[in-house]
Subunit: 166 residues, 2 copies
């Protein structure tokens, strides 16, 4: 296989994967391109390689920076901005967990808290409250487990955990 073909395939695949992970296709493709690129790339470079518009490139680069999956790099003497991907995949996964936990899990827990104060003395209400409490308990556990996971370092994760769990 040719290098160019391989690169192309990787970008496609990473894009498809990302689009199921709260990261849109283009965002993931930019990340893929940067992952494969040993040197940093400019917005211009990215637009050309992925054949996307300036606006699209800009918006998604910024989003990647917000997610801390990409960093800005300023070359001395140059006005243009360059970008580098976070290449430590464990760091990438961690960031995604952190972001999505904040955006999804935490609001859910808040709602569960609110609705567990439903009042009424009938069976239906009791059952509802019981279920909600159960879900709340599970979510809280998931939340703290993820916190711990995120604090754990990469080597620990891939090494020790795997052994322990077997």
């Amino acid at each position: 296989m040719e290098l160019l073909e391989g690169k192309e395939k990787f970008i496609q695949a990473w894009g498809a994967l990302g689009s199921n992970w709260g990261v849109n296709r283009t965002m993931a493709q930019i990340h893929a391109l940067l992952l494969l690129s040993p040197e940093s790339l400019s917005a211009e470079n990215i637009m050309e390689e992925l054949k996307i518009s300036r606006g699209n490139a800009n918006m998604n680069i910024r989003a990647l920076i917000d997610w801390r999956l990409v960093y800005k790099e300023l070359k001395p003497g140059e006005r243009k901005e360059y970008f580098v991907a976070e290449k430590d995949l464990w760091e990438v996964v961690k960031q995604i967990i952190i972001q999505r936990k904040k955006k999804e899990l935490e609001p859910m827990i808040k709602v569960l808290d609110e609705i567990s104060s439903v009042e009424g003395d009938d069976i239906a209400t009791e059952e509802f409250v019981k279920m909600v409490r159960e879900i709340k308990l599970f979510s809280s556990k998931a939340d703290s487990t993820l916190d711990t996971l995120v604090k754990a370092d990469s080597n620990w994760f891939v090494g020790t955990f795997l052994k322990m769990i077997r």
Copy 2:
């Protein structure tokens, strides 16, 4: 808060959560409704409660069954089909992991295998292959870790794991 209002809020929140997890909004709402419902519901019931069309209800119930998050229940003497949600949340999470791993992670690993055979003796190719191998290694580790996780039982997970990890 009123029972009805609480129910409504939960369905909304679960729908929003689901829509970020490869489960579309309506699918997640149906699941939420069934989670809250101590008895099984018919397609008709679901259509009414969520105010959705027959086709929509049917398609999403089907999908939930495919994901093993909902089961069919046939009441003796009745022609109509009834549905119940999987209520063990750890089971729900497990199913989602299993399905998404199959649909996303495994194809990614396949692509990584393919493209790690890129040929060429220049620096660029070498760097490409190195990066791809690294990603492949990480993905395979994630894959087997998830396998192990899925095999572990709920109590072990929420209990022992949490203690161990601290």
